[in-house]
C-alpha cells in the first residue's frame, strides 16, 4: 500500500501546477538532506531554504527519502572522498581555520562521511536539477497522455485505496 501511496504522490507532483523548476529545486535540496547525515547543522539551513524559497515541498520530501536510502549505500564512498578532502595538505590551513572558528565545528565538517556526502551532493546539485527539470518537461509534453493509458495506472485509479484517497484530497483540499 505504501508503494502505491508513494507512486501516487510522485504522479501528483508531476501533474501538479508547480513548474518544472520548482520540482527540480525541491528534488535538488531534498537530495542534500538525504545524502548527508540528517542531523547536521547545514541541513537546518537547507530546510530553511526549502521552506522559504518557492520549491515544491512534496518533491523535496520524496527526494529526501529516496536519497536517504541511496546515502546508506554510498557511505563507504563518502568516507573515502571525505577522508581525502580533509587530509589534503593543500586544504589543511582552511580546515584548521574552520576547526578553530566559531559555530563551524558544530557542522561536524571534520567527519569524513559528512564532508564526503556533502561533496557528492554538491557535485550532483546541477545534474540533478537539470535532469529533473528536463524529465518533468518531457513527461508533461510527451508522456503524460500516454501514461494515463498504462494498465497499471488504470489499475491504481480503479483501486479502492485511490478512491478513498481522492475523497480525502477533496475534503482536505
Amino acid at each position: 500500500m505504501i508503494w502505491l501511496k508513494i507512486i501516487g504522490k510522485i504522479f501528483r507532483v508531476l501533474n501538479a501546477e508547480a513548474t518544472p523548476k520548482q520540482i527540480a529545486g525541491g528534488v535538488m535540496l531534498g537530495m542534500i538532506i538525504g545524502l548527508t547525515p540528517t542531523f547536521s547543522l547545514h541541513n537546518i539551513l537547507v530546510v530553511f531554504l526549502i521552506l522559504v524559497i518557492r520549491v515544491n515541498l512534496t518533491a523535496a520530501i520524496l527526494s529526501m527519502f529516496a536519497f536517504d536510502l541511496i546515502g546508506y549505500g554510498v557511505d563507504p564512498l563518502s568516507d573515502w572522498i571525505g577522508g581525502a578532502i580533509l587530509t589534503s595538505t593543500a586544504l589543511r590551513p582552511i580546515w584548521i581555520e574552520a576547526y578553530n572558528a566559531a559555530i563551524i565545528p558544530f557542522t561536524r565538517f571534520n567527519n569524513t562521511i559528512v564532508m564526503g556526502s556533502l561533496a557528492i551532493s554538491l557535485i550532483l546539485l546541477y545534474p540533478v536539477f537539470h535532469f529533473t527539470k528536463y524529465g518533468v518537461e518531457r513527461y508533461r509534453s510527451d508522456l503524460a497522455a500516454k501514461f494515463q493509458q498504462w494498465r497499471i495506472v488504470k489499475a491504481v485509479k480503479m483501486s479502492r485505496f485511490y478512491k478513498y484517497y481522492q475523497t480525502y484530497r477533496s475534503i482536505v483540499g
Binding site: 580546515w95 584548521i96 578553530n100 566559531a102 564526503g116
Partner: protein
C-alpha cells in the same frame, strides 16, 4: 517568500528553545551523573543543577561522590559549586571557566544509601574498562621472627632437607667423579701404551736378537752391528717420548683431581652458606644485626602511597597532555566515518579553568585554597597549574606546581603539616599488631618532585607524645612485646623517608630513631640466641650434606687410585723396555767409553777381534 511556512518554522524553533530552557538542566544533570559515576566507578549524585543563560554558568548543589572502595561513605561531598563560563568560546567548542567556587567541601562522610553503581552502569563499565598500568613494586624487608626461639628449633620442620642446594650438589658430586674417572680411562685407552710399546719392540726384535747373538768376524758384521745399534737407539728415543707423554697426562690428571677436590668442596661450602642465609631469610633473621624496623613497618604503606601518587599523576598527565602544533592529524572512529582532529590554534586551549576557590569546614578539617590554570592544553596556555591550600585545622600549607608546558612534565608538591592530632588513627593489618594511636601529634614536611618518570620524594615525620594501641592478636609475639617495651621509653620519634629512581625501579630509604632504640634492645634480647641458632642450622645442614660429601671423597680417592695405578703400570712397561734396550746398547758399546779414543782407534777400538785377526 512563503510566510505561511516561515511563521510555523519560527514557532517550532521557539518551542525547541522553551524545551531546552525547561528540561536542559535535568538532561545535563543525568548525563554528568552517569559519566562521572562511570569514571569514579561508584555513584556520583547531584541534588540540583542549574544552567544560567543570562549570567552564563552552572550551579551545582549537593554533589556527593561515593567511595568506590566503601560504598556506604562519600569520598567527597560539596554543598555548593558555582561555575561561571565565557560564552563566546563555547561557539568554538572551547570551554573556558573563568571562576569556580566550591563551598562546604567535606570528605569521608556517611551515606544513607549505598554508592555502588547500578547494574546498568556496571555492565557499561565492564565494556569501557581500560587496561591499567602495572603497579609500582617496592622491595620491602621483613621483621625478624623471634617466635622461633620459643621452642627447640629443627631445620627439618622448616624446609625439606633434601631440597637444600648444598645437599643436592653434594649428591651430584660422586656422579661428577665417576664421569671424570670414565673420561680418564678413555684417555688412557686412547693412549694405548701397551700396543705402542709392543709395536716398537717388535720392530727392533730382529736387531736385538742379532746384537745378542752375532759375533763380528768381518767388515760386513761391523756394518750390521752399526745398523742394529742405530735401530735400538731410535726405539729407545720413541719409548722415552711415550714415557714423557704418559708423565704429562699423569700430571694433568693429578692437577685436575686436586682442582676438582678443592673447587667442589668450596662450591658445596658456598651453597651451604647460601642455604643457611635463605633459611634465615625465611625466618626474617638475615638482617638481624641491622634491624630496619621502621622500613619493615612502613614499606608496604609507602608502596601504596607511591602507587597512589603515580596513579593520580597519570590521571593529571592524561587530562593535561602536552600538545604541539606540528603533531600528525589524529582520527576518531565515529559510526561508519571518522572524525579528523585538527590542532587547536590561535585561541588557546579547548578547556581552561582559570581559577577555582575551595573551602572546607569540618569537625577535624578547616582549610581554604585556590587552584589556578587547569587546562587541557598546557603548551598553548603557557603557564603551569598552581595549587595553594592553607589550613587552620590542621595547620597545613600545601603548594603544588604542575608544569606540563615543557618537553618533560614536572610536577612538584610541598606539604607542611603541623600538630595534626593522631588520636583514633586506626592501623591496617600490620606485622607489629598495632591497632590504633591512642594519643599523638604529627608534624610532617614532605617535598615531592616528579620529572617525567622519575621521582624524588623526601619526607620528615615527627610524632610527639605518642601512645600506641596494640591488638590482642599480637600479645604472644615476642617482637610486638619488644616494640611495646621500646615505645615506653620513646614518647616521640622521627622517621625520614626518601624515595628516588623511576616508577619501575623505585629506591626507598627509611631511617628512624626507633631503629636505633630497637636495635640495642633486640641485640641484648636475642643476639646470643640468633648466633646459637645460626650454628645449629649450620650443623644440621652439614650433617645432611656430610654423608654425601663422604661418599664423594671415597669415590674420588678410589677413582684417583685406579687411574694412577693404570698410569703406573703403563710407565713401568715403557721403562722396562727402555731398560732392556739401553742395557743391550750399553753392553755392545761398553769397550769404547771415550768417543775420542774410539775415533782415534777407529774400527779397531770398536771391534778389537777384527784387528786381532
Amino acid at each position: 517568500m512563503r510566510w505561511k511556512f516561515i511563521i510555523p518554522f519560527l514557532v517550532f524553533i521557539l518551542i525547541i528553545f522553551t524545551f531546552v530552557a525547561f528540561f536542559l538542566d535535568g538532561i545535563v544533570e543525568s548525563i554528568v551523573e552517569e559519566r562521572a559515576s562511570l569514571l569514579n566507578k561508584a555513584k556520583v549524585e547531584i541534588e540540583d543543577l542549574d544552567i544560567g543563560f543570562l549570567r552564563p554558568g552552572v550551579r551545582i548543589q549537593g554533589l556527593a561522590v561515593a567511595n568506590a572502595d566503601n560504598p556506604w561513605r562519600n569520598m567527597v561531598e560539596v554543598g555548593d559549586i558555582g561555575i561561571s563560563v565565557s560564552v563566546l568560546p563555547l561557539f568554538s567548542k572551547r570551554i573556558i571557566i573563568e571562576e569556580m567556587v566550591m563551598e562546604n567541601l567535606q570528605v569521608n562522610t556517611e551515606r544513607k544509601t549505598s554508592g555502588e553503581l547500578p547494574r546498568r552502569l556496571k555492565k557499561r563499565l565492564k565494556t569501557e574498562e581500560k587496561e591499567e598500568r602495572k603497579p609500582v613494586e617496592v622491595p620491602c624487608v621483613k621483621l625478624p621472627n623471634l617466635d622461633v626461639f620459643k621452642k627447640k628449633f629443627d631445620v627439618k620442620e622448616l624446609v625439606d632437607i633434601n631440597q637444600l642446594e648444598s645437599v643436592k650438589r653434594a649428591k651430584q658430586l660422586s656422579e661428577d667423579v665417576s664421569k671424570m674417572k670414565a673420561k680418564w680411562e678413555s684417555e688412557l685407552k686412547g693412549l694405548d701404551v701397551k700396543a705402542k710399546a709392543d709395536e716398537i719392540m717388535t720392530k727392533v726384535q730382529g736387531s736385538l736378537e742379532s746384537l745378542q747373538k752375532t759375533q763380528i768376524k768381518g767388515p760386513a758384521d761391523l756394518l750390521k752391528l752399526q745398523s742394529d745399534l742405530r735401530n735400538l737407539r731410535e726405539a729407545i728415543d720413541t719409548l722415552k717420548g711415550l714415557r714423557k707423554e704418559i708423565e704429562t697426562k699423569k700430571a694433568a690428571f693429578k692437577k685436575q683431581v686436586a682442582t676438582l677436590e678443592k673447587s667442589l668442596k668450596d662450591e658445596v661450602k658456598k651453597l651451604r652458606d647460601q642455604d643457611l642465609q635463605s633459611i634465615l631469610k625465611e625466618l626474617g633473621l638475615e638482617q638481624f644485626t641491622k634491624v630496619r624496623l621502621a622500613e619493615a613497618f612502613l614499606c608496604p604503606f609507602l608502596g601504596k602511597v607511591l602507587n597512589l601518587i603515580w596513579n593520580n599523576v597519570d590521571k593529571i598527565r592524561t587530562g593535561m597532555p602536552k600538545t604541539g602544533k606540528d603533531e600528525p592529524l589524529q582520527t576518531r572512529v565515529r559510526a561508519q566515518g571518522r572524525d579528523i582532529i585538527f590542532p587547536s590554534v590561535k585561541k588557546g586551549p579547548d578547556f581552561l579553568l582559570r581559577e577555582a576557590r575551595l573551602s572546607m569546614e569540618q569537625e577535624k578539617w578547616s582549610f581554604r585554597g585556590t587552584i589556578l590554570g587547569v587546562t587541557s592544553d598546557p603548551v598553548s596556555y603557557g603557564k603551569p597549574t598552581r595549587v595553594d591550600i592553607q589550613g587552620k585545622r590542621p595547620n597545613l600549607v600545601l603548594n603544588g606546581i604542575l608544569d606540563h608546558t615543557g618537553k618533560t612534565p614536572i610536577d612538584t608538591v610541598s606539604l607542611d603539616l603541623r600538630e595534626y592530632p593522631l588520636d583514633g588513627f586506626a592501623f591496617a593489618e600490620n606485622p607489629l599488631s598495632l591497632s590504633n594511636i591512642t594519643r599523638g601529634f604529627l608534624n610532617l614536611k614532605a617535598n615531592i618532585a616528579l620529572r617525567g618518570n622519575s621521582i624524588d620524594l623526601k619526607t620528615i615525620t615527627t610524632v610527639k607524645n605518642l601512645v600506641l594501641g596494640f591488638s590482642e592478636k599480637g600479645t604472644e609475639n615476642l617482637m610486638v612485646n619488644m616494640v611495646k617495651e621500646a615505645m615506653k621509653t620513646a614518647p616521640s620519634l622521627s622517621i625520614g623517608v626518601a624515595a628516588k629512581g623511576t616508577r619501575d625501579n623505585p629506591q626507598l630509604s627509611i631511617s628512624s630513631d626507633l631503629d636505633r632504640l630497637f636495635a640495642s634492645q633486640l641485640k641484648s634480647f636475642a643476639g646470643k640466641k640468633v648466633n646459637a641458632l645460626k650454628a645449629s642450622l649450620g650443623r644440621q645442614i652439614d650433617d645432611a650434606s656430610g654423608k654425601e660429601m663422604k661418599g664423594f671423597s671415597d669415590t674420588l680417592s678410589q677413582g684417583k687410585l685406579d687411574i694412577l695405578n693404570q698410569f703406573g703400570s703403563d710407565e713401568s712397561l715403557v721403562q722396562e723396555n727402555i731398560d732392556l734396550l739401553s742395557g743391550t746398547v750399553a753392553s755392545k758399546t761398553d769397550k769404547s767409553k771415550s768417543p775420542k779414543k774410539e775415533k782415534e782407534k777407529g774400527l779397531e777400538g770398536l771391534v778389537p777381534g777384527l784387528i786381532r785377526r
